[in-house]
């Protein structure tokens, strides 16, 4: 039996959706894209072009939910379908778009540069717990205008894992699409075997800004998977009640699915988000708050009820350094997300309200991910009888270590952690230098990065990636790309 955490009854889910559909009509959704507004109007929405508000009838949104696929795959560089969005399958990728990085031992973060992003990719590539990578590091050594696609450019050069990414502007989406086409071969191949999913973030409450709306429609048009990242902040940009926030999340996502499916019915789209239980003391958006996690798991239940793939930003922390708070917040979030059966769980490596990345945290989180995946597998009936036969066989002598039964099953049953997790006797721990978790993690970062093996990308693919990057960088005022 697969263990599961559920927060909502079927009746509550239906009430959430009923209220969300009502909101789509009244007050409607603000859409700052004329292309989207006209599309909605053409399909029966009552659109006020001057006010940029669309009143979307429930049946229009319901039809969109029906045409959206319930599952799809992301493919790796070798063309293998390694990530499955759908059902209760769980996968993890690092948190995204850090504008700061925390060096080992530092208490102050700094702006990351290209070398940091490369090191991150070499590490993420080597961590088996991560099913996908993300464009996690925003490099400060390139102009802001090219910061979004430049991350993806580096990702594609350094790892074959699928990518969770996103564009920061309307124009750069097509640059990112071109980079993906360079590695997949053609637009058709990219649509058939998508390598990346793009986060698109509506602004709470009930607003599609021009950038996100155009990105959403571009994804649909090229059938590149889109991931809705709705983020009500309780009591600040959404209701203070947790279920109220889930209603707002549902309305924002339903409007996104509607616009997306009108552009291209059947294009893949994910019911995701990054809400937060707004902190009423500091005015911050804690990703490690227990209520944040409760909202995440709840909206995922709503998405599953609609038959859509799901995503959440969980498994991260608001701590400023890799400390106890960092560990417990990330651990609780990852475990809950796994038990909620969320398809893509984005968060490992991320600190400080989704703004700061730590390589040491990433390898610690990889251990958490291993445990989360293990708990999601649950208690498995490995054999029949469950234990009767082996217990009788070993008898009162009691040495199970000397049985082939143990040798056969322990690898199946146990998640075997890396040395980042200390399970030694005290003397053994002391003999190895009495290292803290973070110190052990720091060593592991160095080991994995040192063991990194370059991608064997065909020369023409590398040339094509570089040609695109150089061309667009020049138009952003950068004559030479930073050294890698």
């Amino acid at each position: 039996m697969r263990p599961k955490v559920e927060f909502l009854s079927r009746e509550t889910i239906e009430r959430i959706l009923s209220e969300a559909y009502d909101l789509l009509d009244d007050p409607g959704v603000r859409v700052h894209s004329e292309r989207a507004l006209r599309l909605l109007a053409d399909h029966g929405a009552d659109v006020d072009l001057a006010a940029q508000v669309a009143h979307i009838p429930a049946d229009l949104a319901q039809r969109a939910v029906e045409t959206a696929p319930s599952s799809f795959h992301l493919y790796d560089g070798a063309g293998q379908p390694v990530v499955h969005y759908g059902g209760d399958d769980i996968q993890f990728d690092p948190g995204s778009a850090a504008i700061e990085i925390l060096d080992h031992g530092a208490t102050q973060s700094r702006e990351p540069v290209t070398a940091d992003c490369v090191r991150f990719l070499q590490l993420a590539d080597g961590l088996d717990a991560l099913d996908a990578v993300a464009t996690s590091i925003v490099c400060a050594d390139v102009p802001q205008e090219m910061a979004d696609w430049y991350r993806l450019y580096l990702v594609l050069l350094y790892t074959g894992k699928p990518v969770v990414t996103g564009a920061f502007a309307v124009e750069t989406w097509s640059v990112m699409k071109d980079l993906l086409v360079a590695v997949t071969g053609s637009e058709e191949a990219l649509a058939a075997q998508p390598r990346a999913v793009f986060d698109v973030c509506p602004s709470p409450p009930l607003l599609w800004s021009e950038i996100t709306c155009e990105n959403l429609m571009d994804c649909a048009q090229y059938r590149v998977p889109a991931e809705l990242v709705s983020m009500p902040l309780t009591g600040a940009t959404g209701p203070a009640t947790l279920l109220g926030a889930v209603v707002q999340h549902a309305a924002e996502c339903l409007s996104g699915v509607t616009i997306h499916q009108l552009v291209n019915p059947g294009a893949p789209i994910v019911w995701g988000g990054s809400p937060a239980a707004f902190d009423m003391r500091a005015g911050t958006t804690p990703m490690g708050a227990i209520e944040t996690m409760m909202i995440d798991c709840s909206y995922a239940e709503v998405g599953k009820h609609l038959g859509l793939p799901t995503h959440a930003y969980l498994g991260m922390s608001d701590a400023k350094i890799v400390d106890a708070q960092c560990g417990f917040e990330s651990g609780i979030g990852a475990i809950l997300a796994a038990l909620a059966g969320i398809n893509m769980i984005s968060g490992p490596g991320m600190l400080d309200f989704e703004s700061c990345f730590s390589l040491e945290k990433l390898v610690i989180d990889a251990e958490i991910v291993g445990m989360a995946k293990r708990i999601a597998t649950g208690m498995v009936e490995r054999e029949t009888p469950l234990g009767l036969e082996i217990i009788r066989q070993v008898g009162h002598a009691g040495n199970f270590l000397a049985t082939s039964h143990t040798r056969h099953w322990f690898r199946e049953e146990l998640f075997i952690p890396s040395p980042v997790v200390d399970r030694d006797f005290r003397r053994g721990w002391e003999a190895k230098g009495s290292l803290t978790t973070t110190e052990r993690a720091h060593r592991r970062v160095a080991e994995i990065v040192a063991a990194y093996e370059p991608l064997n990308l065909p020369d023409e693919v590398v040339s094509e990636l570089e040609a695109i990057a150089q061309r667009v960088a020049q138009s952003a005022g950068l004559d030479h790309l930073p050294e890698r």
Partner: protein
């Protein structure tokens, strides 16, 4: 202090907007001078609210509602002040907004609330505000502080645009420019020639006061 002013004081501390408005009207009907009401009821009330926040008794929503109650009472008093050709003593005049292309409201609004609670006259221009609007508003109000918010790395360039526009309009020396928002920082403030950076709404009040030498 009169009973009405006592009640007005209590209403603002409790963040009760409608009673605050009604009590302000009552005060005028009872021929209490608006400046007296402001000095004896509203300003002390906001001081108490600030203190309660500092000690942890009040949270941001309490603060915001108190500021709303204060605003409601001020809306009653302002026409009366104008009629008497009197002016409320303010610590300074602030023009604040989220820069062009950025639609993030919450952080900017918190800063505006905190500044007005601290005794500043605040003109909140909202979100997605073009540089020219900031310039116009500074010229119109004679503001001495400009607050610029940006939440995205892509829109923070808009903060620089406002500093440049103020320069071109010959208004740069008249104002202290303070920036804020997730991607901004002290280095960015220096890069674009702003006068200060504040990490959060609380800090913003301190930074502005410091820049003005208050």
């Amino acid at each position: 202090m009169s009973d009405i002013l006592n009640q007005l004081h209590t209403a603002v501390v409790a963040g009760e907007t409608d009673p605050a408005r009604e009590l302000a009207e009552q005060a005028l009907r009872a021929s209490i001078a608006p400046l007296t009401a402001i000095d004896e009821a509203l300003n002390p009330a906001m001081e108490i609210v600030g203190g309660k926040y500092e000690t942890g008794e009040y949270f941001i929503p309490d603060l915001v509602m108190a500021a709303e109650a204060m605003k409601a009472a001020m809306q009653v008093f302002e026409p009366a002040l104008m009629a008497r050709q009197e002016e409320r003593q303010v610590l300074g005049t602030v023009v604040i907004g989220t820069v062009e292309g950025d639609i993030h409201e919450i952080g900017k609004s918190l800063v505006a609330t905190m500044l007005s609670a601290a005794g500043f006259q605040v003109h909140d221009l909202g979100v997605d505000v073009p540089a020219s609007r900031f310039v116009e508003q500074v010229r119109e109000t004679g503001a001495n502080v400009v607050g610029l918010s940006a939440l995205l790395t892509t829109t923070m360039l808009g903060q620089e645009a406002v500093v440049e526009a103020l320069q071109e309009a010959g208004l740069r020396d008249q104002v202290k420019v303070v920036i804020g928002g997730a991607p901004a920082g002290p280095e960015w403030a220096e890069t674009i020639g702003a006068d200060g950076y504040a990490e959060n709404a609380n800090e913003a009040v301190g930074v502005v006061k410091q820049l003005l030498g208050i």
